[in-house]
Amino acid sequence: MSSSVERFDEKARRKFSRHGQTVVHRGELLRHPVYTRVLHWCVALSFILSLLSGFAIYSPWLYRWLAPLFGGGPMTRFLHPWFGLFFDIFFLFQFLNWFAPMHWTGADKRWVREAKAYVTNREALAPEDTGFFNGGQKLYFWTIAVSALFFLITGVLLWFDDVVARWIVAVSYVLHDLAALAMLAGFIMHIYEGTAAQPGTFQAMTNGTVTKEWAWTHHPAWYAEVTGRNPREDFEQARHSQAERHRSMEAWEREHKPTNDPHGDKRPDAGMP
């Protein structure tokens, strides 16, 4: 089964790459091919639409805010299952696409144990054994995979709730909400990590590329795998050359100090009133 999935995936990736392209600039690495990016944004769009329309029905406090976005209550009710269905279909492809790299390993177990250091930014660099995806990303992926399955089953029951037994609807309703809340928690973190928390990450899903610095900082093992180089050594070297550059710049500045500077040599007194 897995080999046929890989074959399908490979074919899809090739087909999409023919229509779109990923330009890898100097100092960058290819992270997500066109196929993955298109899938990701299809999943994201259908998820956000499902989330907003679902929240309208979820809580009376949000109903009047969110239902108008979709053309009122009845339209929200009509569209929500379709948004959800599209989400599940897109995510199925995403699931097949990422099934292999999302495989849970010992490195991820260690990552979860060290999650506190990750959250508090104690270490500037991620652990040496962090691969293409880290433990947190994998957890998020599997949360979505499980939730999506719950969504599909309970969602279909709720879709046709006028014919489904009463207690089944009542239970489905709770499970559907729980899956949504679990996913929302991950979603908030996902948005944050992908934008404000980690500069340079967002371009991985737009241009499809990341800088080498980004790669050895966040995913050293992946960096080692695709470049065949040692991420730690490359980092040290980059740091060293940066310091070198900095020093030479300072030396240059000292040498070429402008003489017509009004503060010139008596700079220490310049600020006195």
Binding site: L62, G73, V119, Y173, V174, R239
Partner: protein, 307 residues
Amino acid sequence: MDERTMQIQEISAHPGPVAGQGTQRAVEVCKYIDVTTCIGCKACEVACVEWNDHPFRETTFDNTYQTMPSTEWNYWNLIKFVEHERDGNLMWLMRKDQCMHCEDPGCLRACPADGAIIKYENGIVDFQQDNCIGCGYCISGCPFDIPKFNPKTKKVFKCTLCSDRVGQGLEPACIKACPTGCLHFGTKDDMVQIARTRATQLQKESGFANAGVYDPQSVGGTHVIYVLHDITKPELYGGLPSNPVIPPSYTVWKWLAKPTGLAMAALGIFAVFFHRLTVGPKVPQPESEPVLTHHPDEVEAARKEKP
């Protein structure tokens, strides 16, 4: 408008006291159905269809006298016919099935649409189809299987207890049509009292030792009550639940866990902002330093010049 405000207080040139002055009537209304005196004539079914402008239709024959298996979105009043054996004799149980107008309505609790289900002070539970979004949660919230979905308009309908008639001081259509007087309409207090008297009469004079009033307290009582020959087995009467309950998902989950979930989502967003403010971003290493065009102390000095 509240009819009580239209009660006459003073009358000009009127000898003697004002009739009815100072009287207080309870606001809660109730339909009382004496199952023991129902003859199964279905006049109430016809009256309901006529008053609510529902279409007349073919009946479904299933070897009983029942019009159709259950109530439908455009057929709100259905007499359930059950052939029951009691002491070796046939006994025909005929119960008029319709919305029970619960004091604590499961449909209303389950509904997510603002203003789609309302309950009046008089106890009538009414659907407002303009606000209904057709999700069907009310159907699963109802312990009596009453709300029915209209697939064409995607709205849910049920008996209104003729709120349009009651609002004008009239009795519901079914009550008006009943030829045997097994249907009564009045205040809840009065109806419960009449029903209790009838139940006692059945116990003492007609040999129905288990006769009683069906007014289930698990939903806070209902605004449609029955007198049954055997109150211990309401299920006999076409599936009347002895202990009707609203699913906890519409009580505990909806009113306690849901707001908690929302609060947690808000907290999550807050936590993310707080993380950005305190811990800050994780920047690819080594961080590229900003190119300085001036020495920091020069910048400082320039600033001090212009206080």
